[in-house]
């Protein structure tokens, strides 16, 4: 069985683009299976260079076949993609009810905060945005734009979140350093005001200074106590 066909079957059935490393992991896992045959075992330690060569060969073959899809490598990951000229029918296929909605403003804001401040806990995000972010976090995690990346070294060891490769792809960024004004926004420490600040009349909100980022845990409790949800729908934590 040829390596390129195995790769093809994997990429054809995968729900997301696969990197050479991920493909290598699949070969290792298949070789480790109880019922692994000789072919599977022989591919246990397939080299990256072999994989890349086979993938490139495969891409050339599909290019030559000139069908309605091709094998593409985006951001180091391989994926079968449809040719753009079929978009009108694909749009009709997806229809409105299945199409993932455009990201909402709250989702974009939450994404921006996570992008600039990762790794960051959910409580810290809530601190900055001033609202409960459970629902919006779920949305962006389901869309694969954000993922748990570790745990904060504070009481309770809450998970920390960061952006994914899909996030970069979605916004056409090469890397996090590509984020606009990254230097500035990463480092902003909103200063603690010297004296209690009263809300300016006419202003809708407490000035953001008061939302200063701090220790997530301590503040989380405080802000929850201060901000009961009006609808009586407590956060599902």
């Amino acid at each position: 069985m040829e390596l390129k066909f195995i790769l093809e079957s994997l990429l054809f059935s995968a729900q997301k683009p696969l990197s050479v490393k991920e493909l290598r992991d699949v070969f290792a896992a298949a070789a480790g299976a109880e019922d692994a045959d000789a072919t599977a075992e022989s591919l246990a330690k397939v080299k990256d260079s072999e994989l890349t060569a086979a993938l490139e060969q495969l891409a050339r073959e599909h290019e030559a076949a000139a069908r309605s899809y091709r094998l593409a490598c985006v951001a180091g990951a391989w994926q079968f993609v449809s040719q753009p000229e079929y978009a009108p029918w694909l749009k009709a296929l997806v229809g409105q009810k299945i199409r993932p909605p455009r990201l909402s403003q709250p989702a974009l804001e939450t994404l921006a905060i996570i992008a600039y401040r990762q790794p960051i806990t959910r409580a810290e995000v809530e601190q900055i945005r001033g609202v409960n972010v459970d629902a919006v976090m779920q949305t962006i995690m389901e869309r694969g734009l954000v993922e748990a990346v570790g745990r904060a070294e504070v009481v309770g060891r809450p998970p920390t979140y960061g952006t994914t490769a899909l996030f970069l792809e979605y916004f056409g960024l090469r890397g996090l350093e590509d984020l606009p004004a990254a230097d500035e926004l990463r480092k902003i420490v909103v200063q603690k005001p010297p004296a209690p600040v009263t809300v300016e009349p006419g202003l809708a909100t407490t000035p953001p200074e008061q939302l200063a980022l701090g220790n997530a845990e301590g503040q989380k409790e405080a802000s929850k106590a201060e901000a009961p949800e009006p609808g009586g729908s407590p956060s599902p934590e």
């Binding site: 079957s9 059935s13 729900q15 997301k16 753009p84 978009a87 997806v94 299945i98 199409r99 993932p100 455009r102 990201l103 403003q105 709250p106 974009l108 994404l111 921006a112 945005r129 001033g130 609202v131 409960n132 979605y170 916004f171 056409g172 606009p180 004004a181 500035e184 926004l185 902003i188 420490v189 603690k192 005001p193 209690p196 600040v197 009263t198 809300v199 300016e200 006419g202 202003l203 809708a204 909100t205 407490t206 000035p207 953001p208 200074e209 008061q210 200063a212 980022l213 701090g214 220790n215 301590g218 503040q219 405080a222 802000s223 201060e226 901000a227 009961p228 949800e229 009006p230 609808g231």
Partner: protein
């Protein structure tokens, strides 16, 4: 004893057992010797009884049919009793063979289904990721995303990069709340303002950043909206049409803004120690 039990249990019925016996004889169903088959069948039944195996009624029915066939054969044709209702041609031997042939075909068909079943376990459907048309073919954007804003502020900051020779240490000269006031004032006076205009008077990077954060905050509260008449055009900032001028309780997204508003109130009430629990990060 246990091995006999295993053997008997694989027969799905008397027909199955008969087929097994025929196979052992290595003859075609049509050419099988029914007398011998009857004898072997009954031997098996006896064996099953000896081992106290549960014997389905169907096996006994088949045994009696076979006994009947065998007994008929032992009599000369002219002495055979004509069975009532049995027309000529409805030979019980023939009936049994017909049944065996039919059953055999379905048994083979079942084997083929089993092959298909096993094959299907190894067939994986292509399950592509969901289509995202936003990223492949971006439609014209009437609204501006936060990333457009960040891009914009980035270009403003670049101007300061050229100007600022020395890197300045963060100072507390500008506050976001001041900038919120500033932006609201400008909008109140002029109705709308170009994005770049807001930064024209800025003297330092930190001031740009404060102005930008103020802008984000006002957008978050739906006080202001950003619009971009066409792709790559200048971003324009306007008062959100749905927002109540000063109350800060816009109606477009009641649930969310209510949360924000409520928080303002409760935090205001506790301004005595709003940030005591917050340690600088």
């Amino acid at each position: 004893m246990a091995e006999y039990k295993v053997q008997f249990e694989v027969f799905e019925g008397p027909l199955d057992l008969l087929l097994y016996l025929i196979k052992k004889e290595e003859v075609d169903i049509y050419q099988v010797n029914l007398t011998r088959l009857a004898t072997q069948f009954i031997e098996y039944i006896d064996l099953m009884r000896q081992f106290d195996l549960e014997l389905a009624g169907e096996f006994l029915v088949m045994a009696s049919t076979l006994m009947y066939i065998k007994s008929r054969e032992l009599l000369p044709v002219d002495q055979q009793v004509a069975v009532e209702g049995e027309e000529e041609g409805e030979d019980p031997r023939w009936e049994l063979i017909r049944q065996l042939v039919e059953y055999k075909k379905f048994k083979d068909a079942a084997t083929q289904l089993q092959t298909l079943e096993a094959r299907q376990e190894n067939v994986f459907p292509r399950l592509p990721g969901k289509l995202e048309f936003e990223s492949t073919a971006p439609p014209p954007k009437p609204d501006v995303s936060i990333f457009d804003l960040l891009n914009a502020v980035n270009s403003v900051l670049r101007r300061f990069e050229k100007r600022d020779g020395s890197r300045e240490i963060f100072e507390d000269k500008w506050t976001v709340s001041e900038k919120i006031e500033f932006i609201l004032k400008v909008i109140a006076e002029r109705g709308s303002v170009r994005f770049a205009e807001l930064f024209e008077s800025a003297a330092s990077r930190s001031e740009v950043v404060c102005t930008f954060l103020a802008l984000l905050e006002l957008i978050r509260l739906k006080q202001l909206v950003c619009v971009q008449p066409e792709a790559f055009a200048e971003i324009e900032i306007r008062r959100a049409e749905t927002s109540a001028p000063a109350a800060g309780t816009p109606v477009s997204d009641p649930a969310r803004n209510e949360i924000a508003a409520q928080q303002v109130v409760s935090q205001t009430a506790e301004t005595g120690t709003p940030s005591d629990s917050a340690r600088p990060s």
